[in-house]
């Protein structure tokens, strides 16, 4: 059995209470929700937090998927399995289901949360790319109140986010705009493994033209890669295989993978391109199908 180093444990009864506990422990505490990243890291002694604050009792505050004020709002404690099964998400942003079908396995999906996935900020994690592609904004709460940041500002560095030591990510907000189509593609060595490379794409098509686009990559850099150059290329253009091939070319150029057991750099760049092209094609086809 792998055993973590000694730590203190408490269960929060409210979000404000959890924030107060974070403040009280002054940077030595970690929030635990699904625990599918943190607990293995603790058992391998890669992480040794002195305090854990368990927020699993806060489902009434933090677990929901709802439409409000022209947005879809997802509570941070929403489990992967609920993202996978959500009709609301399937209708507007089917890339969530694309991604959730290939994230880990049912055991992890039953327990892991969207907030935990985003805050872990592993570059190979799928939901970060998904949220970046659909231009989500996240709500971060601290003792002085809430702020809302874009995914670009949320990703600060490897395993680092805009969430401070005494703050909690509480909500993910997805804009609802017409003409949306989206898709997520991933290549993995085996079901449940981290991606070798994955791409998320969203397009908003108005009158046969791509009004806006979002493309992001997983596992091919030290953080989630936001493909700004590809988005620029796509904006205002008519969807076509040639256009997507150009965007895919940008993906292979603008990612920065490193060689590891999943593959060498050239293969990962190649995959970034293949995944981007496939994601854009399907996203566009879905947008056009919705329009028709």
């Amino acid at each position: 059995m792998q055993t973590p180093a000694p730590f203190q444990y408490e269960r929060a009864t409210s979000v404000d209470g959890a924030i107060a506990a974070l403040v009280a422990h002054d940077g030595d505490a970690r929030i635990i929700a699904g625990g599918h990243s943190l607990i293995p890291m603790m058992k391998l002694r890669l992480a040794s937090p002195e305090h854990l604050i368990d927020i699993n009792d806060l489902e009434h505050e933090l677990a929901y998927i709802a439409e409000r004020d022209g947005e879809i709002r997802i509570g941070a404690l929403t489990r992967h399995v609920d993202l996978l099964g959500s009709d609301l998400l399937a209708r507007h942003y089917p890339l969530f289901a694309d991604a959730e079908e290939v994230i880990a396995d049912p055991v992890v999906r039953n327990r892991g949360t969207i907030g935990g996935s985003l805050c872990q900020a592993d570059a190979a994690e799928d939901l970060s790319a998904v949220c970046a592609a659909v231009k989500a904004r996240v709500v971060i709460r601290g003792r002085d109140g809430e702020r809302t940041v874009s995914m670009e500002d949320f990703h600060v560095g490897p395993y680092q986010t805009a969430v401070g030591d005494d703050e909690i990510l509480t909500e993910v907000r997805l804009p609802l705009r017409s003409g949306a189509g989206s898709a997520h593609f991933k290549t993995e060595r085996r079901a449940g493994d981290w991606a070798i490379a994955a791409a998320s794409a969203a397009v908003w098509i108005e009158g046969g033209t791509i009004a806006d686009a979002g493309v992001a990559l997983s596992a091919v850099g030290t953080t989630t890669i936001h493909l700004a150059r590809a988005e620029e290329l796509l904006r205002g253009a008519a969807p076509s295989d040639e256009l997507f091939a150009q965007a895919a070319q940008i993906a292979s150029e603008d990612c920065s993978p490193s060689a590891d057991a999943r593959g060498p750099v050239d293969y990962k760049r190649h995959l970034a391109s293949v995944m981007t092209r496939r994601a854009l094609r399907r996203a566009s086809a879905r947008a056009l199908a919705m329009e028709a």
Binding site: M1, Q2, T3, A5, P6, L44, R45, D105, T187, R189, R190, A191, G192, D193, W194, I196, A261, R262, G263, P264, Y267, H270, L271, V274
Partner: protein, 795 residues
């Protein structure tokens, strides 16, 4: 075959008296989670052990300071090599007559090697204490590549061994006839050669290794709880190593969560637990974690092979093989004493060759020791992979169909028993018939047409074939022993007065279904219901001596012992029945469960009646004692030689290079099937492992000797999503010398499937991409590299 209404077992088949699809007796407890595994056992006063392991692959130990760890509340003791030296336990013998450090004193020789053993009140405290032990290392140059180990300038790994001046682990071993092989190649029309690696992989049983040692200082009795595949051999080894009297040691295995060869060896942690209990005078429990299992316990394969094969007049005629075997830091490969490269020289395969010659050189490297037979009979997996890859390479060179070439070259049915050029005597077979059954299930001609159509559309589909002959059931005592112990197995059968029976065996199940299969053998022979027969195993105090379960030897050896002991009881019952029926034994005839008078079939005695009589006050036959029991030790006259024809169909994504095994057809001939359902389950499991080995399982190291696959995040084993619905078939060629006509089967699917899959991958890529070889595992990145024209061997 897919399960349909027609071939579902009938209710009658579900409760056979004897052979048939009996549901597994052990599953009632397993599916309810009621098994008793090592970690379920808690003894009063038990302490917990944990091992400190080396972070370096090769380093001199300058000093070890245990004072801080000892000061941690709850720590009872910290044991180092120095302490073990005083007990004479610093080194232990391996199963290959090498020595292995129990705890490293002079040097560490692989990353993960055992350095210190902490004993504490809880496992948590023991593991916290590991971080408080201060070891000063002086890092040395590490040797990771077996080829480099042979260089003159390579650092000497085993400077502990007197007279050892290089990294050669054992003298080069040869089989076959070199001159005749040279002649065959000189006369050949076609010659091909391939360099290939069977990479290091790991059996990775879901239950890791561990032990509870309970030494009683008052009585000198040592009770051991330890799931291993050969409890009787382990007991002898402990008696030898620890200087304890063998009859004062009792090993109980209980339920075992998988072995696959990984639980054959004796590991340093076991010796530490025993030494800990002797020193502490209380039970000591030690269980390794997943990382420890993957980085330190018995790995498998790691063969660097060069094969050459030739053909004349359209038939395969010769084979030449040169191997470097990487044994890691200590030679603890598993094989019978006289066979230092195991049964690798069975690599002439299922073909009637003119000549073959095999050379194997074994080396030490700074990697974990092992070389265990991961679901294979002593290196036959490597042998079959080599020969079946070579046959396909030859077929490519000749422009021949991969099945046609095999069909033309097979040993013919009338040639059995067949003496191979490397010294095996294959007992029986009809290879062409089995191949035909596989082609029929696969729809081989349709597959070829489908492949041609897909090629035109730019889709990549491959069809791969392998045909293997295994040699399992080691083995005859005149040829085979391990550590001087003959590879025989005992069986002890007692029929109680009520007609219930208990059969004690020396084979040790790790999931193979022994409690069912062996009951069925007794049931078949005595005509008792299998539910009335208890199979006792896994307790050295209550079972006869024997060498255990590995190398698919349970049914070939232990199963034969059970068959023979049952017949002995049946013969005894005949004598008793003759007295009961007041007739002569030779006037009695047997039908299942009953001796009856030949001339008057109404007159007879059921086996239950005979049992009751045997224990009663009635007179026994002249000179016979009461009771109805017998015991035997079975010495097999030869190995059994199961074989099979496998066909894999793969699809490869042309863009991502991901390989999908779409279909897998496995036709096995393992002789008589005692429980066909268990046989099929064994085949399913082995095929899943074979797919894992072919596509994803590998243990690799960086240049410093750091193991890169130390968790299930990095050591991938396949899930249900990577394996297709298997299509099984069978032919039955009974083994002529086995009492039941059975052959082993557990390992066949692991042996036969990897080459079929790799052959399929090559078949998919050869025409379009010019690929002639890809080393396993065929991961997307490695297949893509091959498609780009630069295949890379694994690190």
């Amino acid at each position: 075959m897919a399960v349909t209404e027609e071939n579902l077992p009938s209710p009658r088949q579900e409760r056979p008296i004897g052979f048939g699809r009996l549901k597994r007796k052990e599953d009632a407890r397993f599916i309810r989670g009621q098994g008793t595994y090592l970690d379920d056992i808690r003894l009063p006063g038990m302490l917990h052990g944990a091992l400190l392991r080396s972070p370096y692959a090769h380093a001199r130990i300058v000093s070890i300071d245990t004072s801080e760890a000892l000061a941690l509340p709850g720590v009872a003791a910290v044991v180092t090599a120095k302490d073990l030296e005083t007990l004479g336990l610093a080194w232990m013998p391996t199963i290959s007559y090498d020595t292995q450090a129990v705890l490293a004193g002079d040097k560490v020789r692989f990353q993960g090697q055992e350095v210190a053993f902490v004993i504490a009140e809880t496992e948590y405290i023991a593991r916290d204490a590991l971080g408080l032990i201060d070891v000063e290392y002086e890092p040395l140059d590490a040797v990771v590549d077996a080829r480099r180990a042979l260089h003159e300038d390579a650092p000497l790994i085993r400077d502990d061994k007197e007279g050892q001046v290089d990294n050669v682990a054992s003298p080069t071993w040869e089989a076959g006839d070199q001159e005749a092989t040279d002649r065959a190649f000189a006369e050949a029309d076609v010659v091909v050669s391939r360099d290939m690696i069977y990479p290091r992989c790991h059996p990775a049983p879901l239950e890791t290794c561990g032990m509870i040692a309970d030494f009683n200082p008052e009585t000198g009795q040592l009770d051991i709880y330890n799931g291993n595949q050969a409890p009787n051999v382990h007991r002898t080894v402990y008696a030898h190593v620890a200087g304890l009297a063998e009859h004062m040691i009792r090993i109980r295995c209980n339920d075992i969560g998988g072995g696959f060869g990984n639980k054959v060896p004796v590991y340093p942690g076991y010796v530490c637990a025993i030494a800990g209990s002797i020193v502490a005078g209380v039970p000591v429990k030690w269980i390794e974690d997943r990382t420890e299992n993957l980085v330190s316990t018995g790995f498998a394969r790691d063969y660097i092979m060069r094969g050459e094969m030739c053909a004349k007049d359209g038939r395969i005629t010769g084979l030449r093989v040169d191997v470097i075997a990487d044994h890691g830091a200590f030679d603890s490969t598993a094989q019978p004493t006289k066979f230092p490269a195991g049964f690798f020289h069975i690599c002439c395969g299922s073909y009637d060759l003119q000549a073959a010659h095999v050379k194997v050189k074994a080396v030490y490297t700074n990697k974990a020791p092992g070389g265990v037979a991961y679901r294979c009979s002593f290196r036959i997996t490597e042998a079959v992979y080599l020969v079946e890859r070579m046959v396909n390479a030859l077929a490519l060179e000749m422009g021949a169909d991969q099945i046609d070439l095999r069909m033309r070259s097979f040993i013919a049915p009338e040639q059995f028993p067949y003496e191979t050029t490397t010294g095996w005597t294959f007992d029986s077979g009809n290879y062409a018939e089995t191949m035909k059954v596989a082609m029929e299930i696969a729809g081989y001609d349709d597959l070829l047409r489908e492949q041609a159509d897909k090629r035109e559309r730019g889709e990549l589909m491959g069809i791969g074939v392998s045909f293997f002959t295994e040699g399992v059931g080691a083995g005859p005592r005149k040829h085979m022993d391990i550590l001087g112990l003959s590879m025989n197995d005992g069986a002890d059968l007692r029929v109680h007065p009520s007609g219930k029976a208990m059969v004690s065996i020396s084979a040790q199940t790790q999931g193979q279904g022994h409690e069912t299969t062996f009951a069925q053998i007794v049931a078949e022979e005595l005509g008792l219901p299998p539910e009335d027969i208890e199979v006792r195993h896994g307790d050295t105090d209550r079972t006869p001596y024997g060498l255990g379960t590995y190398g698919s030897r349970s049914t070939p050896v232990s199963g034969a012992a059970v068959g023979v002991v049952s017949r002995k009881v049946r013969d005894r019952a005949r004598l008793i029945a003759a007295t009961m029926l007041e007739t002569r034994p030779e006037d009695l005839a047997w039908e299942k469960g009953r001796w009856y008078v030949r001339g008057d079939p109404e007159q007879g005695a059921m086996i239950e009646e005979i049992a009751r009589y045997a224990y009663s006050g009635e007179p026994m036959p002249e000179g016979m004692e009461g009771g109805l029991d017998a015991q035997v030790i079975y010495d097999p006259p030869n190995l059994t030689y199961p074989y099979g024809a496998y066909i894999a169909v793969v699809d490869i994504d042309p863009d991502t290079a991901q390989v999908t095994v779409r279909r897998f057809i496995a036709v096995d001939d393992c002789g008589v099937r005692i429980n066909p359902m268990i046989v099929e389950g064994q085949i399913h499991g082995g095929l899943a492992e074979g797919i894992g080995i072919a596509l994803m399982e590998v243990i690799t190291f960086d240049a410093e000797g750091n193991c890169l696959n130390s968790s299930f995040m990095d050591y991938l084993i396949p899930t249900a999503l990577e394996v297709p619905e298997f299509e099984l078939g069978e032919t039955v060629t009974p083994c002529p010398h086995h009492p039941l006509g059975a052959k082993g089967v557990g390992e066949s699917p692991n042996v036969g499937s990897p080459p079929a899959i790799v052959n399929a991958v090559i078949d998919a890529l050869h025409q379009t991409h010019g690929v002639t070889h890809v080393d396993m595992p065929c991961t997307p990145a490695r297949v893509w590299a091959a498609m780009q024209g630069r295949p890379e061997p694994p690190q």
